[in-house]
Symmetry: C2
Subunit: 337 residues, 2 copies
Amino acid sequence: MAVTIQHIAERVGVSKQAVSYALNNRQGQVSEATRTKILAAAQDMGYQANWRARSFAKQRSNIVGLVYSRPRQYLEQTQIVPSLVHWLAEMDYELLLIPAAGPVENWGHKLRDGRVDGCFVSHPVPVGLDRFVLEHRLPTVLANLRSERSIPQVYFDDADGMRQAVEHLRGLGHTRIAYYCSPKSEGEHYSNDVRRDAYVAEMKRAGLDNQVTQIVGQTDDAAAAFASQPRDARPTAVIAYNDSDAIMLQRALWRHDLLIGRDLSLMGFNDDASRDATPPLTTVALPQDELARHCVDLLLDRIATPEAADDPPRLRMVLDEKLIVRESTLPPPVAAP
Amino acid sequence: MAVTIQHIAERVGVSKQAVSYALNNRQGQVSEATRTKILAAAQDMGYQANWRARSFAKQRSNIVGLVYSRPRQYLEQTQIVPSLVHWLAEMDYELLLIPAAGPVENWGHKLRDGRVDGCFVSHPVPVGLDRFVLEHRLPTVLANLRSERSIPQVYFDDADGMRQAVEHLRGLGHTRIAYYCSPKSEGEHYSNDVRRDAYVAEMKRAGLDNQVTQIVGQTDDAAAAFASQPRDARPTAVIAYNDSDAIMLQRALWRHDLLIGRDLSLMGFNDDASRDATPPLTTVALPQDELARHCVDLLLDRIATPEAADDPPRLRMVLDEKLIVRESTLPPPVAAP
DNA sequence: CTTGACAACTGGACCGGTTAAGGTAGTTTT
DNA sequence: AAAACTACCTTAACCGGTCCAGTTGTCAAG
């Protein structure tokens, strides 16, 4: 049997309320003398406040959830989780992982039964979740997601990231710059739309309209098609939708004896896998720690003032992306003599 | 105000206990007729059981923690988290992430205040945690860790994994096989001891005593030393402590124009980063999903029967490692003419 | 001497469920 | 027909805190 405030109260000779006040440092509710005695007794008896009882009484769990719908793959790809945990810990909150398999009706109860005070939602958004959280007025923040709905959201400036990417390659002397997105990413991420459009826009802005090349199809097919083009006609640089697509393309091209850093330049987005490639890939970083910090900030704010949900003061936050130049982007090879 | 069983009780005209029995499907406690009425009312009123109240009453949270002590790095490296979540979900449990910064006294209270029913501990073990969980009799499972203490643990058969690795390379014709472990891994992982010893033992068993080569030092230094050796004297294959070390070594060797798959063979352990390398790395996989499954099994068992802690029926589980041959290991290059 | 203010503490209600024990029919046993 | 049993429902206690509304005692002002 664990020690409760009642036990401490009996030992010190006060009521349990006095113990509660003392332990919670309530000013002006308990004298310094009694407080000292109570704290000493608590220490001595190895008292540990019962978290279940406290969260029941206070109607608050100090836990927030992370809703994600890729049980086996998602978490390994992202670095946001440890950052969320870190920033939450600063505010005495913790992170509960909530797998979202199937329609929201199957697991949505976990969001409204009190086990979490609010939640983050990451890509991809489970079907019906936006409606669900609005209907039940659940404090929610969309992490790295855009939505028309009135749900707080934090995401990155993909268009500007692409601008930096194209600018970087143009600065190296590239003109034949292609964009690649694997079918998988294409279907799943709508960031692709933003990046693709920005790519086209930037190329046009640079007067390279006729060089716009969108590589499509399965990685192996794309690489084969790429390799079959004559050397002086094919792109000298490829911007991939993300690091993962870049790395897959690198491997596929390698099978055709096309090496990154020798035969062509390649870059990705995210900075999650690019550092470990050989050569290390130039990439546009989406600082996950920044993302997490703002998500936590927004969510705890929403939890603290739920009434603000009707007229959210901060609905959308757009964060900067940052170019990281590594060794996979070099000036284009000069034409063979 | 949320709907409670009291509200349902009033509407149906029974006591709240009857509602509780009906909702919990207690046999022989409530008639089929009333149960139907109660369930209909609950459905109609949008009743959602209060998780805080229930866990308070039942003295059980149905949440387990994952203690980890690398706030920003650990989770990105491992794939065990999604697997733990998956297997826990099957048993109606959830995973809470518990960052363990500093000594156990700073955060250990989170383990004994009732927010979790038990916990997993992963590498590296926070100082004093083993003593702490034993002292407070907390259901605990060590994930991919070995310990002398009487704490349930699941880990892999590293010696056999190394046996498979050496056997694979020998089968390809290699005799000059080296072992590499970066200083970082060396200090942090004691799996290194097991693998290194097994490497030496296997080489001896194969009669290659005089070929035993342990590469040490920072990756760049190691690569430089490697490259400076004459081609017919240096190892033709390297087994790295893990995929991360292998990939770092690959990059460092690349700077000396030594390419994996062309100039030498390289393999790692873990199968966490090897698939994405170019060329894809041969590796010894430590199936994280299997690990997670057994960890969950053991922990829930311990939670269900805490009294078994004194004489644990299943204290240690050793799982098989599995060789995955990819394209980074080829027969040694034949001597140049 | 009375009154008011204030500090320090207590009584009681409450958060929303679970569980054991008790009661009341109706049915079966003897 | 009385006793025993069973099915079904209710009463009451409990989980361990928090918080509001008193109550008591002390001291200064009127």
